[in-house]
């Protein structure tokens, strides 16, 4: 198939493309799902992370 005689190699080629397609389909199907309000702990975490990096640099 497509000049590749070994089915296992062809399968890897095809699965690489199909798994990328799976990612696209999953992402599109769930595009608007999973929105969560940002909580205080998220903001607190981000502030501390930013401070840490700034201190290091």
């Amino acid at each position: 198939m497509l000049g590749i005689p070994d089915k296992a190699v062809f399968l890897a080629y095809a699965l690489s493309v199909f798994s990328a397609l799976l990612c696209v389909l999953y992402g599109v199907a769930n595009w608007n799902k999973g929105d969560e309000p940002i909580q205080t702990e998220d903001v607190q975490w981000a502030k501390e992370e930013k401070e840490d990096i700034e201190e290091t640099l």
């Binding site: 000049g3 999953y26 998220d42 975490w45 502030k47 501390e48």
Partner: protein, 632 residues
Amino acid sequence: MDVVTLIILLCYLFAIAYLGYRGYRQTKTATDYLVAGRNINPLIMALSYGATFISTSAIVGFGGVAANLGMGLLWLTFLNIFVGIYIAFVFLGNPTRRMGHHLDAHTFPELLGKRFQSRTLQILGGLIIFCFMPLYAMAVIIGGAEFIGPIFHIPFNAALFLFAFIVAAYVIAGGMKGVMFTDALQATIMLIGMIILFTVTYTTLGGFTTAHQTLTDMAPRVPAPLKAIGHRGWTMIPAFGWAKAGTSGPEAIQFNLWWTMVSTIILGVGIGVLAQPQLIVRFMTVNSRQALNRAVVAGGIFILFMTGVAFVVGPLSNVYFAKREVIRCRIADEQALLDPGPDGKAKLTLVSSDAPPEIQSRSKRFVAYRMPDDAPDQALRYVLWTPEMKITRGAEGQLDEIRPGLIAIARTATLGTPLSGNSDAIIPHYVASAFPKWFGVVFLLTLLAAAMSTLSSQFHAMGTAIGRDVFETLTGERHSSRSILITRLGIVLGLAAAIVLGKTVRFNIIALATAIFFGLCGAAFLPAFLGALFWKRMNRPGALASLLVGFSVSALWSIFINSKTATGLGICKALFSKDTLLPPSFSPTWAVVDPLIVALPLSFLTAVAVSLLTRPMPESHVKWCFGGSKPQ
């Protein structure tokens, strides 16, 4: 380096620096979005993750391995997308983010340490990352240096320092702050570079079917040493099997390539990616499951165009080199002799005309030449002579033509490399030879971008591993000047170690070093990480024991059993005067089985058994870890 190249390169570096500065001033880092409570554009998040995931190691190192071993490496692309993107984003991303924020963990070892109430776990995790991540950083830096060398005609060591310097300057100037637009710009450049590489390769070689068929028909040209270990052609999976115990000679090694390709390269990296500390931390910078869902789209496509293209173009470069390459140059010597040493495995050295007869007789004939834009005082280039080579001498003032007709790995053999070639140099050679010079510059930017984004996160992980996870946990000092100093020193030491390693162990090392690091992380961290997120019954002894078993088995297997790593490290030889400790009553195939295959199942079993045999963690603590309120 010509003036145009230099200008393009400087423009790119200034653009990156400017974007980094602007982005930072305008609060556009990942954490700023969270602080401000706003959504990051999912495309930018995915590209940023992808840029961190994919480095010069994947493109140059693994691309070169694919050129040598064949398209079977596409199984790694499948795992990169399915496991590294789909599973990681859909199943691991959100629980990691939630638990990280809830427990206020900022590094991967800290997440484990807090989940399992174990400072020892955090310290051990930090030490493993700090000690072994330089191996991966080395692979990334060599990937860039191998490219800069042939493109700009500078020696490897100079290229290594130059590349490390540019990347370190970027990282320190702002890379580590994780300005999302800079990361996304870098990912876009990587995407453009790889799309051009993919399109031009297939177009030049006559389209999908013709290109693949030509490569298939080249199977008889597989070098004898590779055939002996199971190579059946570049469009075939290597021969699979298990050598009988007690066999020796050709029978003992006939399945080695399958086990190396599948257990080390494909599974080591394909599974190990789930336990990569620098990638896990990325999930914590996201603000919702929705952002992860959306990021899966761009992530899948991005990885397909990175490793997918590298693992297809690499093998196809054999067709280009064997059938189409024409070197237009000035031949300096058609009969140059290079000596591969008494065992044929040493670095090639030039043989003078008065060398002893035994050296002359074991030496190989090369053709020495200069490219038209090479300086007169520049070192000569060499290409291996074979009976298939065609040489056409140009008329006075005209260029000569060499059609080497070599396969990719043989084309990389030159003064200073082993006669068997250097797989790390295949992709750089291919780009330098098959593409116009402007693409060389675009590809250099691609590689710089790939290296910068990955190294930024590696340096961050190394610095925090020694500063936050080890020093702060041991001393209890938070944000002290000593802790900051240790973190900075950690980054500098990590970079220095990567450069020293790169100078020492060059040639065919990028993919191996990356696979060793990924495999080690997988064996040591994966059971504890998955248990932390999904198994409430997993406890401190279980996590600690699994880390210790995974790490120890992996290390001992590498040092004493796996023939490649044991021979390379030399510890087994020094202690026991033999290359590996594999008993003769065992199948010799065990010596090529990757440590991960043995260590990961043992690590998982240990995690389950020890957790079930010991007391569960306090219920209030487990509740807190999974979203409840903090126990008093």
